[in-house]
Amino acid sequence: MTKTSIEMKQLVEEFIKITNVKYEDQTEKIKQKSDLVDWQFHVGTNVIVSKNANREDRVHINVNMRFPPEDSKLLISKNPSFSKTIMEVSEICTVCNMGHQWIKDGQIIAGLAIFSHVDEQNLNRISFHNVWDNVARVSGHVQKILRSNFSSFSSKNNLTDETTGKTMYG
């Protein structure tokens, strides 16, 4: 039987609780800003689990990396490693079947989101944790790519509460 949005939310919360990772239900905050998201959890440092209002069939898991200004300054076309880095990030995401999107803030590249989803029909603890692990693993690998191509890249994530306004689905 097809799970409702609320049922999916309850299941996801249960799967998050099992891990003992600190999380916050950001649904109310998000809904004040946008109708595009049904519900959203901010898990750990930078993982966002959400359900879009326009997709009844899936739950999104998104690692939202925000770069500090000193790192963003490296992500410019004048940097000789720029294209190589972009291609390598694209490649690892393709190979691992992850979506990715560079986040712009004004004129600078302020972050990178790595994301995947769990299908409603397949939403159980094992598949949810697998997708979560894979998204986190790819995001860790991407940080290694950034550090190896830009020697002074710190990869410190500046997330705090800003993720509520920065989700790419919101």
Partner: protein, 136 residues
């Protein structure tokens, strides 16, 4: 037949360049006629890519020339066409122009029939990229 289309893009060079580089590996995002994309080989300056479109299997040696803001797609061992495709960014007075240029020469009668579909696909491809770059 040589065809081209350009659009002014309201985005930074970095964002547009990132999207063009992503398109190298995921052309199906902005051109819906493309399926089954595969990277066959990696080089220091690009890749060898295979994909399906309009009933053809296409292999292209893709060369990324960041200095000149050009990505060139040379057809490899194609039984219907010979030629290349170019994505180019022109940057003047802080205004970006994205140009797609297709220079594919048909070598079979069937290829001449297919050719008529190219202008529409090319224009739509540039427009989709513009939308994506300006939305980000």
């Amino acid at each position: 037949m040589q065809i081209s289309h350009s659009e002014q893009i309201n985005a930074t060079f970095e964002i547009l360049w990132i999207l063009l580089l992503d398109k190298v590996q995921h052309p199906d995002i902005t051109i819906k006629e493309i399926t089954h994309v595969e990277v066959l080989q990696k080089y220091d300056d690009g890749i060898l890519r295979q994909m399906h479109t309009l009933g053809m299997t296409i292999r292209e040696r893709i060369t990324i020339d960041e200095q000149n803001k050009i990505i060139r797609f040379d057809l490899i061992e194609n039984p219907m066409f010979t030629g290349y495709f170019i994505n180019k960014i022109e940057d003047s007075d802080e205004k970006l122009t994205l140009i797609y240029e297709q220079n594919w020469i048909p070598i079979t009668p069937q290829a001449r029939e297919l050719e008529t579909k190219f202008p529409q696909i090319l224009i739509k491809g540039v427009q989709e990229m513009k939308e994506l770059a300006e939305k980000q």
